[in-house]
């Protein structure tokens, strides 16, 4: 533990948290609308990372693009393909079970998750594990050191870009949910599924939009994380981030959109803090202990309201 590096660690934590928050949003939105924990969400994130890799290294000749254009193309492809994947999962696996007991849908979600993890082995290159090369990331070149107000810390351009792109997406989502008619319909469905349907809301359309938006955000998260960190990819890439983001969503109050963002950032910062004090081995354990503790005191999560749960 070194007090001088605390500010740097908080910045690391916020960046990690921004990715957790992006994934947690998908969990929380789907839960809000369908009361379903979409366990396949982490695998959508994994596919997003792979799409970014294939876009940058296989499908397109990266030397022909301006780096910024290539990055946008990667982001666009990841989001679009993940959105399509998400909505397909909903159509094929969840919609036929809409009136089935909730446990059946939950088990189906786990099944879809396993299908994507194991089935991905047939489609994606996993050995040797591919990673997105550094040359596609132009932000890498800019690092800010010894900033006037912040003192002795280093912030990389990639880190900053990732953080702000995440924030922009969160603001766009907030605008969609609170300021548009689709958003109003979404909130109505979340509040009471059947009544919303009776009031003339096209429930299936709203569910599809929820999956499109949530999966698109997960795709963006996968693309940014794989590009900024240069991690080797395999089909289990989404497993741990998926679980962490789920915990973040529960921590913030599942079904609550600002709660997911708060939970994501809290998880990211908590994790780096544990490493900071020198217990790197316990960072996952502590995340879950924090969750248990929060749930003991506030069973609905930090921002969750009491009593929305339907019978």
């Amino acid at each position: 533990m070194d007090w001088a590096s605390l500010d740097q660690q908080i910045i690391n934590g916020l960046q990690l948290g921004s990715i957790y928050a992006l994934i947690a949003l998908g969990y929380t939105m789907v839960y809000g609308v369908l009361r379903l924990i979409n366990f396949a969400h982490g695998e959508v994130y994994m596919v997003g990372a792979y799409v970014a890799y294939y876009t940058a290294e296989r499908w397109f000749d990266k030397t022909k693009f301006h780096p910024a254009v290539l990055l946008l193309l990667m982001l666009f492809n990841s989001m679009v393909i993940c959105a399509i994947l998400g909505v397909t999962i909903e159509r094929v696996a969840y919609r036929p079970l809409r009136s089935a007991p909730r446990i059946s849908v939950l088990i189906t979600a786990i099944g879809v998750s396993l299908l994507l993890q194991q089935g991905g082995l047939l489609i994606f290159k996993t050995s040797p594990q591919p990673s997105i090369s550094e040359s596609v990331n132009p932000f890498k070149a800019y690092t800010f050191e010894n900033l006037p107000l912040l003192g002795n810390i280093t912030i990389s351009g990639g880190q900053t870009a990732m953080f702000f792109v995440s924030l922009i997406f969160m603001l766009l989502l907030w605008f969609l949910v609170t300021r548009t008619s689709t958003g109003r319909a979404m909130r109505a469905v979340a509040h009471d599924f059947d009544t919303a349907a009776l009031m003339g809301v096209d429930v299936n359309r709203i569910v599809s939009i929820t999956f499109i938006v949530g999966s698109g955000l997960a795709g963006a998260g996968g693309m940014m994380n794989a590009t900024a960190l240069g991690t080797p990819l395999d089909t289990f890439y989404g497993l741990i981030p998926g679980v962490k983001a789920f915990v973040a969503a529960v921590l913030g109050g599942i079904g609550n959109i600002p709660g997911a963002v708060l939970g994501g950032f809290l998880m990211g910062v908590a994790e780096t803090m544990v490493v900071w004090v020198g217990y790197a081995g316990y960072k996952d354990a502590v995340a879950f202990v924090v969750l248990i503790a929060v749930l003991l005191f506030k069973p609905n999560g930090l921002l969750g309201s009491v009593g929305v749960e339907k019978a």
Binding site: D2, A4, S5, Q8, Q9, N12, G13, Q15, L16, T126, S127, P128, Q129, S131, S133, E134, S135, K140, T143, E145, T154, S156, G158, Q159, N225, L229, G230, T231, P232, D234, F236, I240, P241, E271, T272, V275, W276, G278, A280, G281, Y282, A285, V289, I292, A293, L296, K298, P299, V306
Partner: protein, 421 residues
């Protein structure tokens, strides 16, 4: 829902506390175990197994390798190298007209699968020797099987110290981690002039834990200081928190003992927290992929290896040209050369063996002296380990492209760490 009794609270809190204590206790146990695992070197147990005899017109030799899974780049190369040596042996007429057949089994990089692959080779295919594996975690259970059945096993790339302690049937053609750790410490202290080094260890990988330990011991013995040691786990993607801690300790070098899959992102991310000190590690770095995955951060990095395609030795040049002629490309990593040498040692022993069975072959392997291997001259010591030189490679830009270039060769020495046979 929120109204929980006080008793309930005490209950849950004490429950949480006991979980913590349990975790801490388990964590403590683990590190102790790994710390003592290197010290158990005494006399190697004799095998009581019946062994196999050559009965047909061909001499069967088995090889186990990870041909699937994340360590595939290593497994594939080891088989290619061994096959090359067998082909040469057969082209020269084999042994008294008998040809050698190389039987390949996939381990998938999994200990259990490696064990059953070895069993299949020995009991069904009746091989008189087994080559492999690369990963120590797979070699250990496989060697146990070979030892029980009385068939010699020659590991290709397992550097973990205690592998050959399993018994007198177990050998290897690579150096061990006590030598490797000492060599890197010597390199850091003498050649780079480092005095304050930080260590980054993959705590889920026994290889990494062991190598870090050996490095720490020899480096402090030389007079250097380990300023901090940080840990991560295989599969982790964000290392910035650990790297920030390391930067805060103000080291002049960073020793990373893990596998190449995590070294790539570490090399990239260290630039993001501004940790600009030389970075170096062990043979777990050995891969072509690392140069791409590590980006700019890997340039100026060093690791210890068994062999390099660019080495200026006659054996290496001959091997590379033979390899190119057969497979149409250059060897991707050192495992092809080690596979070639492992097969070479066994085939050389086959010629000297008094009879064509696994016990006579074992005795001949144990007597190997100054075998001219591609990865260096190999003498098998009384402990079953190869006494041979090591090599440090440096990541450099060659014609604008990153490549691993030989930096310095270190002759074999006994570091006298832990293992006192």
């Amino acid at each position: 829902m929120n109204r929980l009794s006080r008793k309930h609270w005490i209950f849950t809190l004490s429950g949480l506390l006991s979980i913590f204590v349990l975790f801490a206790w388990l964590g403590g146990c683990k590190t102790e175990e790994s710390a003592t695992s290197g010290t158990t070197a005494t006399v190697r147990p004799e095998s009581t197994g019946p062994g196999n005899k050559v009965e047909g017109d061909t001499i069967p030799i088995g090889i186990i390798a990870s041909l699937s899974g994340s360590e595939k780049p290593w497994g594939e190369e080891s088989v290619r190298g061994a096959q090359l040596a067998v082909d040469e042996f057969n082209a020269e007429g084999g042994l008294n007209g008998k040809q050698v057949v190389l039987l390949v089994e996939d381990t998938g990089g999994q200990p259990e699968q490696g064990k059953s692959a070895t069993e299949r080779l020995i009991t069904e295919k009746k091989v008189i020797a087994v080559l492999g594996e690369v990963a120590s975690g797979v070699t250990a259970p496989s060697a146990q099987v070979a030892q029980e059945k009385g068939v010699p096993i020659v590991s290709i790339g397992s550097t973990r110290v205690d592998i050959t302690d399993i018994g007198n049937m177990v050998f290897r053609v690579c150096y061990t981690d006590d030598f490797q750790g000492a060599m890197m410490a010597k390199f850091a202290y003498e050649d780079l002039g480092l005095r304050r080094v930080a260590i980054l260890t993959d705590r889920k990988l026994p290889y990494s834990v062991g190598l870090s330990e050996m490095f720490r011991e020899y480096f402090t013995r030389l007079g250097g200081k380990i300023v901090t040691e940080e840990f991560y786990e295989k599969g982790q993607t964000d290392f910035k928190a650990q790297l920030t801690n390391i930067k805060a300790a103000n080291p002049d070098g960073l020793f990373c003992s893990g596998y190449f899959t995590e070294i790539g992102p570490i090399a990239r991310q260290r630039k993001e927290v501004g940790l600009n000190v030389p970075m170096f590690g062990g043979d777990g770095w050995d891969s072509r992929e690392l140069l791409q995955a590590g980006g700019e951060g890997i340039i100026g990095g060093y690791y210890s290896n068994h062999y390099s395609n660019l080495e200026d030795r006659l054996e290496v040049k001959a091997f590379v040209s033979k390899y190119k002629a057969k497979y149409g490309e250059e060897p991707a990593n050192a495992m092809s050369a080690l596979g070639y040498d492992a097969a070479g040692v066994v085939l050389d022993a086959l010629k000297r063996a008094k009879s064509l069975d696994s016990r006579a072959l074992r005795d001949a392997i144990a007597e190997t002296k100054n075998f001219p291997g591609v990865s260096g001259t190999i003498t098998i010591g009384p402990d079953g380990n190869a006494q041979k030189p090591g090599l440090v490679l440096e990541a450099k830009l060659v014609n604008g492209k990153p490549a691993w270039v030989p930096f310095k060769r270190y002759e074999w020495f006994d570091p006298g760490l832990k293992k006192k046979a």
